[in-house]
Homo-oligomer: 471 residues x 2
């Protein structure tokens, strides 16, 4: 459905990208606003099937403002249910509306083979994606199961669906879904993978490899990271358990062809880059994304309390086989698109073949992630949190503490030391660990993050400070 | 379906009560046991529709023990879903099985007009009730909505459904539901009401009035308790909000004709009775039910933290118009039986009449409870908790503290004073309130509770101690 018009603007189903963005912003502003006026109430089973519709004539109406685009109609699917989901995900209505509607939506060029159009909210929190009729229909059917999963499996790695809408313009229906942004563009991903647990044609093609940060696939992973990603035992267990629970849900809805998106930020490499680039254009440190919207780290905070939140950007602390420190960002993606062509909509009774294929897919997926991608490592991968003076609470900066290599870990505290929310960097002197660098003051210098593949983040208030001292 | 055989034993659908009890106990033992062997996993949408079936030949089988009754088949509806519900309600599998299957089930005579057979577990926690085909079918349809309500409305006053089963014997299906026991038989109810918010024929009939503790109805309430039951403002708000949320769910499933069961234990009256009866046959104090299974008090513990748990038996502290102290036990009952005859099973689209009738019913019900039955009273209705030496934690005894009447409340602490879990009665001397009676030692004497309408509880370990000093 996607094309480019003579002026070079993207066109989707005859609607220009600028018109679509405007319709989305007008529509979401209206629907969130009108929902705000309704009293809070519990979600009922029927709410999953509700569709609200409002007409936006360009001249305006009693309910809608005038605008400079063609008339359109905006539909909101299951408004009460998605309000509940947003609340479960900690998204306040005002923040949702502001992020999506009061700042420009940024069109992403790298939309993959799906033909979907992707937008990113200016604050990096939300992804807006066009979906096909079948996908939207399937998401509606999925909602009761999604509700149940959210209430039972709090650490789920499934996409966070914040809203499902439809813009009717120029006689066409453009359905969009609003989701979380898994890979904060403020954190440089040194390598990315889209993993399915399959080896058939699972290698990034030459065109993908030309990109600044290509998304590699299963065969690339097995070749380039054959030792896998090392996680602490507790973290490994939690990640694998979460994937298992998510796969059970996906399997129960006969979903296949989903992937685990893995973004890896290499802290040691970032530090080397920083040293190199600092001379040229100042310190390079990724900013910290709002913890509110992050995914991966929540997934590893087990109910049993084994693992503490460490990284506020949502990254999971890990190591590669060289012992380099990593932050790994993961999430299960593309759970709707297998319903585009080959599947019938979910029905309680289907033939045995279509029951067995999803279970085969889920099992292979789980095994690959638990055995090949993620490996258990003994010991701890830990960090110290601290805050700058005057910093807003909830966004403490991240300071990496030098870790003794395994074997020399005799005097290392067995649990991470958290100095969370204490007001100054000097709090670090209370740390038992004397291996802290004295040079951390440098992290107070405002810095910028440049990454050609993603929009540049200029908020400038919060930084990921990396202080590493080699043994 | 209920009758009596020549020996005087109750017969239900050609099956004697003793056979039915045995089948229930064998069946539940088996189903809970086999569920225990399966790994924990999340409930899926499909789980609500599962029915497991096992045959119990009297000679026994590989899977089932032999027994002295006729062959029967035992069906368990939605086993995984009900396991989840029991867990949500804090019922451990072992406790569930033990309470229902390792001690006799007590047949209750007062089954009302429904023709249902009622059993009470020996430990007073569970009610087993026969339900009709339509009711069982409707409960199955209700389960997804029930799941959603439980996850959103933690204080719900709806029945706690712990299990739905079917005994197939003598060519008949006997469906049973296991629920919570709302009115602990260990606490003497001085008066009981079944309230709907309707006045049409809502007066207890002469036969009911002959009972030791009749269940009165709306017109009786309006006549005998015309001033209503006085609750603290926070409690009142919480109770009304909970009823409102429950009614929304009931309305969404087009349920009508449900009642609020209200059991009232009058503490002042109990104290007078105690003084009178103590001379004749020793102290009379109701025992305390396990807090785990109680309902009403949970419902008034708002998320906002306004109200603290006070009474471990599940009673809500209240007053009548004479200023007497009450414990009020409430719950919404009979939510399945409106589906017996007049309704079609729940369907998303029905005619407007049947949509409006449930909403009318719900609104009238709420208004009656919020305005007529429960009234707001300024100030606090409070209690002091203390424990006997050697008492098990979780079951502190209840000691009523004398309350100054409103107007003389200047020196009264504004919040309840809790001396929870402190080991001896002497802790009470730390209380600021000097109006405490010195006679509280008497509450350490083991006591029994006699109530002809309910089975006698002889556990004897825990007592409700009442120490009241008039001003």
């Amino acid at each position: 459905h996607r094309g480019v018009d003579p002026t070079g603007e993207t066109v989707y189903k005859k609607t220009t990208s600028s018109t679509l963005k405007a319709a989305i912003q007008l529509g979401i502003t209206h629907t969130v606003g009108s929902l705000n006026q309704k009293p809070e109430r519990d979600v009922l089973l029927q709410d999953f099937e509700v569709v609200e519709s409002i007409f936006f004539p360009c001249e305006g109406s009693n309910l809608t403002p005038g605008h400079h685009y063609g008339d359109f109609r905006f539909k909101t699917y299951a408004p009460i249910a998605f309000r509940y989901f947003r609340e479960m995900f900690g998204i306040r209505p005002d923040d949702y509306m502001y992020s999506l509607c009061n700042e420009p939506l940024i069109e992403l060029s790298s939309s993959g083979a799906s033909g979907s159009l992707f937008y990113l909210s200016s604050d990096d929190e939300f992804i807006v994606k066009t979906v096909q009729h079948k996908e939207a229909e399937f998401l509606q059917k999925l909602l009761p199961g999604y509700f149940m999963n959210l209430n039972q499996n709090k650490r789920t790695l499934l996409p966070k669906f914040y809203g499902l809408y439809c813009v009717q313009a120029a006689g066409k229906n453009i359905r969009i879904v609003v989701m979380n942004n898994l890979l904060p563009s403020s954190v440089r991903m040194h390598v990315k993978f889209d993993l399915k647990g399959s080896t058939h044609k699972r290698r990034a093609n030459p065109k993908e490899r030309e990109k600044a940060v290509p998304t590699f696939k299963d065969l690339d992973f097995m070749q380039d990271m054959s030792d896998g990603l090392f996680l602490e035992a507790d973290t490994h267990n939690a990640v694998c358990k979460t994937i298992q629970r998510d796969c059970l849900l996906l399997q129960s809805f006969k979903i296949m062809d989903y992937s685990l998106l893995v973004g890896i930020h290499n802290l040691d490499q970032a530090c080397r880059e920083q040293n190199t680039e600092a001379a040229a254009e100042g310190a390079m440190r990724p900013q910290v994304q709002k913890s509110l919207y992050s995914t991966a780290i929540e997934a590893i905070q087990t109910e049993t309390g084994g693992v503490e939140p460490v990284d506020q950007t949502g990254g999971i602390p890990a190591r590669n086989s060289k012992g380099e420190r990593l932050l790994v960002y993961i999430g299960i993606i593309d759970i709707l698109q297998s319903y585009r062509f080959e599947h019938k909509p979910f029905l309680p009774t289907q033939d045995t073949v279509s029951v067995h294929r999803p279970s085969f897919y889920a099992e292979r997926f789980q095994k690959f992630m638990s055995n090949v991608v993620f490996k258990k490592v003994p010991g701890k991968v830990y960090f110290i949190l601290f805050s700058h003076p005057g910093i807003q609470s909830g966004r403490p900066d991240l300071l990496l503490q030098s870790l003794p290599h395994s074997g020399s870990a005799v005097n290392t505290p067995t649990t991470p030391t958290f100095l969370s929310l204490t007001p100054t960097i000097h709090t670090l002197s209370h740390s038992q660990d004397t291996s802290m660098s004295e040079g951390e003051g440098g992290s107070e210098t405002p810095s910028r993050h440049h990454d050609s593949s993603t929009p540049q983040r200029l908020d400038g208030a919060f930084h990921l400070g990396l202080i590493i001292k080699s043994k």
